[in-house]
Amino acid sequence: MKIAIQVMVQPYTYQDIDTAAKLAHAALDKGHEVTIFLFCDAAIASNKQIKPVRSDRKIPDLLKEVIDRGGKVEICGICMDYRGITTDMIVEGSNPSGLPELAALIYESDRFISLMA
């Protein structure tokens, strides 16, 4: 199955990227194709320059681990622009994207899961 997971809120303040990553791994374990779509403030999570304190997790790495297992991470491009995130800043293997791509994802996916704002 193709499963898409949309995240909308900011990382660190909330748990949503963590939830999305766990869901993605569980879906990958079962052989599904997974795409995480980062919308609005969730785009911040793609910034690999994020530096949390040592006791905290590095959220961009959670996304990278999903990508390394064959999952996809797409980021709303205009949301990146709004937050000053440029393509050289984003996690390796993730892709700037947009609403046409989100529409295609919604249409083509067998399941669409959204973590509400």
Binding site: C40, L99, A103, I106, Y107, S114, M116
Partner: protein, 118 residues
């Protein structure tokens, strides 16, 4: 096969971006075989008032979505009880909103493939 997607916004049109984002996302669906609709609930209902103006605070206007609602004929819904709860008067007809009752929401939600709260 066409997919029906409902975008639901429940946060205020002034002070949060979600009414704009709900509509923007809905309009973005037309490139695919998707039938989008937008439901304004709770304080998002305030967007329907002719007098609501986030731009008066320097924020992104809400009424910019109206010409796309007209162009794409995007269905817009609002909840009767929420309109009363937030004392929304002087409803802007350019939203072309259909007012539905709260007790019809379960059946209403189940008409869509995806109901995405924003």
């Amino acid at each position: 096969m066409e997919k029906k997607v409902l975008f639901v916004v429940y946060q205020s049109p002034v002070g949060s971006i979600w009414v704009n984002e709900g509509f923007r996302t809905a309009f973005g669906m037309y490139g695919e075989d998707i039938e989008p609709a937008v439901l304004l609930m709770e304080s998002a209902s305030v967007a329907l008032s002719k007098n609501t103006s986030p731009e008066s605070l320097g924020l992104l206007p809400v009424k910019i979505v109206q010409r796309f609602i007209k162009r794409y004929e995007t269905p817009v819904y609002a909840i009767k009880e929420d309109i009363n709860k937030y004392n929304v008067k002087n409803i802007d007809e350019n939203f072309n909103a259909e007012i539905i009752n709260k007790d019809s929401l379960s059946d209403f939600f189940h008409k869509f493939d995806y109901v995405i709260f924003m």
